[in-house]
C-alpha cells in the first residue's frame, strides 16, 4: 500500500491535444480518491499515466515515494479495472484472476489461496470454472475486481468500472466496491463522470475540467463549499440554480425585483460584492416552499412551468428573468400547480454568491 503523488503532470497527445494541463495531487495511503468531471476532461488520461499505459509529457508521478515515470506498468505494482472489464475470454474465471500471479511465478498453493479468498470477498466462488462469456455484466465486473484484489497491489485504479451496467446493478456494485475497499484498504484512484458515484464512494473527490483540477475535497465540502461555478454546478442533482444578481444594502437583488437580505453572519464575507456582476447560486433543496418562522429565509415569488411529483418531494421547474431551467424542491404536501405563482423560501445560509466573470465563489 502506498501514497500516490502527481506533480505538475502534463499530457500532450499527438496533434497538440493537451489532455492534462499540469495537475498536482497527493493521494494518501488507504485513501479512496475519485476523479470526476465531464467526458473528455482528462480523467482517463490521468489514470492511465498513473498506470503507466500513457507516457507522461512532463511532471513526475510517484507511487510509494518512488518516481515511476520510466517504470513499465508491470513493475509499478498497480492493478486496474476497465470499463469493458477486459477479461481474457479464453480463460476461466479462476485463470483470469490467477493470470497475474502465474506470470509472477507465485506457488500454486498461494495462487489458489488468494483466488479463493478474493472469490469469497466478491461472492463469486461458484463461478470460478466458468468462462467470461457465461457471466452477466455484474459478475464480469466482480471478476475484474477479483483480478485486481488477488494481486494485492499498492494501488487500485478504476476507469469508469460501472458505466456498462444498468442503473440498478450500478448502485449495487457501487456499494460492493465501497465494501471491498473497507475490507482491503488499498489506496484507490477511481475515475467516473457520474457525480453521484463520486460523492458516494470517495474519501476525497477531485473535480476535473478541461485538463485541470477545479477543486479537491471531501464530498461534503465540495457540496457545501464549492470553489467555482463549475464545481457548484457539477456536484449535486438537480443542479444548483444560478441567477444573475447584484448586492446592495446588505441584500441580494434578483431580476424581477426580489430582494433577499443577506444573513448578519455572512455580511462581512460579501463586503466587496456591491457593484460587481454576480451570480446568485442556490441548490434546489435550499429553495423550498414558504415556511414562516425559519431564520435567515427570504421569499421569492416564481411561476412554475412544470411540476414533477417524485413521491418524497416535488420538483418545481421555473425560470426567472434570463435564468432558465431553475428548480426548487417542495414538500410533497404542497399543492403547486403549473402557471400559478407561488412563494418560495430561499435558505440564505446556504446560498452562494459568485463572480459572474471569473466563476469564483465569493
Amino acid at each position: 500500500m502506498a501514497q500516490v503523488s502527481l506533480r505538475k503532470i502534463v499530457k500532450m497527445y499527438e496533434g497538440d491535444v493537451q489532455a492534462v494541463k499540469g495537475i498536482d495531487l497527493e493521494i494518501e495511503d488507504h485513501e479512496f480518491v475519485v476523479l470526476v468531471g465531464p467526458s473528455g476532461c482528462g480523467k482517463s488520461t490521468t489514470l492511465r499515466m498513473i498506470a503507466g499505459l500513457e507516457e507522461i509529457s512532463s511532471g513526475d508521478i510517484a507511487i510509494g515515494g518512488t518516481v515511476v515515470n520510466d517504470i513499465p506498468p508491470r513493475d509499478r505494482d498497480i492493478a486496474m479495472v476497465f470499463q469493458n472489464y477486459a477479461l481474457y475470454p479464453h480463460m476461466s474465471v479462476f485463470d483470469n484472476m490467477a493470470f497475474g500471479l502465474t506470470l509472477r511465478k507465485f506457488p500454486k498453493a498461494e495462487i489458489k489461496r488468494r483466488v479463493d479468498e478474493a472469490a469469497r470477498i466478491l461472492d463469486i466462488t461458484p463461478l470460478l470454472d466458468r468462462k467470461p462469456k457465461a457471466l452477466s455484466g455484474g459478475q464480469r465486473q466482480r471478476v475484474a475486481m477479483g483480478r485486481a484484489i488477488v494481486r494485492d497491489p499498492k494501488v487500485f485504479l478504476f476507469d469508469e468500472p460501472l458505466s456498462n451496467l444498468d442503473a440498478k446493478l450500478r448502485v449495487q456494485m457501487r456499494t460492493e466496491i465501497k465494501k471491498v475497499h473497507q475490507t482491503v484498504r488499498t489506496t484507490t484512484v477511481y475515475v467516473t463522470h457520474d457525480q453521484v458515484e463520486a460523492m458516494t464512494l470517495a474519501d476525497r473527490v477531485v473535480v476535473m475540467n478541461q485538463g485541470l483540477i477545479e477543486q479537491v475535497g471531501p464530498p461534503q465540502e465540495l457540496y457545501h463549499h464549492p470553489a467555482t461555478r463549475f464545481v457548484a454546478g457539477f456536484i449535486g442533482s438537480p443542479a444548483m440554480n444560478f441567477l444573475p444578481a447584484r448586492v446592495e444594502n446588505g441584500a441580494v437583488h434578483l431580476p424581477g425585483g426580489a430582494v433577499l437580505p443577506i444573513p448578519e453572519a455572512r455580511r462581512a464575507r460579501y463586503a466587496g460584492a456591491p457593484g460587481m456582476d454576480l451570480l446568485f447560486g442556490i441548490r434546489p433543496e435550499h429553495l423550498t416552499d414558504h415556511r414562516p418562522g425559519l431564520p435567515n429565509r427570504a421569499d421569492i415569488t416564481i411561476t412554475p412551468e412544470v411540476i414533477e411529483p417524485m413521491g418524497m418531494e416535488t420538483l418545481a421547474h421555473f425560470h426567472l428573468g434570463e435564468a432558465r431551467d431553475c428548480c426548487a424542491r417542495l414538500e410533497p404536501t404542497v399543492l403547486a400547480e403549473p402557471n400559478v405563482p407561488i412563494v418560495l423560501s430561499a435558505d440564505m445560509n446556504n446560498m452562494h454568491l459568485l463572480d459572474a466573470k471569473s466563476g469564483r465563489v465569493l
Binding site: L53, R74, A79, M80, A86, Y88, P89
Partner: protein, 301 residues
C-alpha cells in the same frame, strides 16, 4: 418487407389463417428458389469430381471405348489405384507434397503471426504503410513473379529441389495470412493487452497467452489457406522442378502420367482424386472453426 407488414395489418381482422397462409406461401417460394440454386451449384461443382471418380474406376479399354454412356461404369476395377499406390514415384510425389506443405504452413504461420502482431499492436514508424504494403504484395500474381524468382532460386542453388519450393511458397501465403491475422488481432480490444501488461506480461507472453488463443479461429483460417495454396501450387513447381524425385503431386501427376501423347486417364483421375483427399480431410476437421473464422473476419475488415 413493408408490403408484408402492410398486408398483415390489413389481414388483422380476417383471422389467423389468411395471415399464416400468405406467410407460408412466401416462405415456400423462398425455399424453392434456395433449393433450386443450391442444386444447380452442387451439380456444377460436383460433376467434375464425380466424372473423375467414375473414370478412375474404368480400365483403359473401357475409357477408350466411345460407345455407350461415359457416366456409367460397366466393369469397375481398382487397378488404377493399386497401380498408383504400388508406384514408388507416385508415393514420392505424395511425400514431397507433405514435406513442402507442412514446412510452408509452419513457416507461414510463424512469420505471419509475428508480423501481424507487430503491425496490429506495436505502433512504430511506418507500421500503417507496411501493413498496406503487405497486402499489395499479395496482389502481384505468381505468373508474374516466377521468372525473377527463378533467378533468385537459381542463385541460391535451390533449383530442382523441394527446398527451393519451401522457400518460395511463403511468398504466396505470408501476405494473405498476415492480412487475415492483422484483422483478427486488431479486433481484440486494446484493454486486453493493457490488462495483460499490468498483470505482468511481456510482449511475447501477451502474444502466446492472450493473442494466439483468442485469435485461434483466425489462425485456423490462415492455416487452411496456407495449406490449400501450398498443396495446390502449380506454377512454381512447374517452373522450378524438373526431375520426378523432387516433384510435388500437382505436377508429378500431369508430367509423369502423360507420356508423349499417351494419357493414362484412369491413373490421372485416380491420382488427382487421391491428391484432393488431404485438403478434404483437413477441411472436414476444421470446418467449424473455419466458418467461425471467416465470419468473424468478415465483420472486422
Amino acid at each position: 418487407m413493408s408490403a408484408a407488414t402492410a398486408s398483415k395489418d390489413v389481414a388483422k381482422g380476417s383471422g389467423i389463417y389468411s395471415k399464416a397462409g400468405s406467410l407460408s406461401s412466401e416462405r415456400r417460394w423462398a425455399l424453392w428458389t434456395a433449393y433450386a440454386s443450391l442444386i444447380l451449384a452442387t451439380i456444377i461443382f460436383l460433376a467434375p469430381p464425380v466424372y473423375m471418380f467414375i473414370t478412375s474406376l474404368k480400365g483403359s479399354a473401357e475409357i477408350a471405348n466411345m460407345q455407350g454412356n461415359p457416366w456409367l461404369v460397366r466393369n469397375p476395377t481398382a487397378e488404377n489405384y493399386t497401380a498408383l499406390l504400388g508406384n514408388t514415384m507416385f508415393l514420392r510425389f505424395f511425400l514431397n507434397s507433405f514435406i513442402i506443405t507442412g514446412l510452408v504452413v509452419l513457416i507461414t504461420m510463424v512469420i505471419s503471426v509475428l508480423a501481424a502482431f507487430a503491425l496490429a499492436r506495436m505502433r512504430f514508424f511506418g507500421s500503417q504503410f507496411l501493413a498496406t504494403g503487405v497486402f499489395l504484395t499479395y496482389l502481384v500474381p505468381d505468373t508474374l513473379l516466377f521468372i525473377p524468382l527463378y533467378q533468385i532460386v537459381g542463385g541460391l542453388g535451390l533449383l530442382n529441389s523441394i527446398w527451393g519450393l519451401v522457400l518460395v511458397y511463403p511468398t504466396l501465403t505470408v501476405p494473405f495470412c498476415t492480412w487475415i491475422m492483422i484483422g483478427y488481432f486488431a479486433s481484440i480490444p486494446k484493454e486486453l493487452d493493457e490488462a495483460a501488461l499490468i498483470d505482468g506480461a511481456n510482449w511475447m507472453q501477451m502474444l502466446t497467452k492472450i493473442f494466439i488463443p483468442v485469435a485461434m479461429p483466425g489462425i485456423i483460417a490462415a492455416t487452411i489457406f496456407a495449406f490449400t495454396v501450398s498443396w495446390a501450387a502449380f506454377v512454381y513447381p512447374t517452373a522450378f522442378v524438373t526431375t520426378p524425385d523432387q516433384m510435388p503431386l500437382t505436377i508429378g501427376i500431369v508430367s509423369q502420367l502423360v507420356r508423349a501423347d499417351t494419357f493414362a486417364w484412369g491413373q490421372i483421375m485416380a491420382g488427382a482424386l487421391l491428391a484432393a483427399l488431404p485438403p478434404v480431410v483437413i477441411y472436414a476437421f476444421l470446418m467449424d472453426y473455419y466458418i467461425a473464422g471467416l465470419t468473424a473476419g468478415a465483420t472486422k475488415g
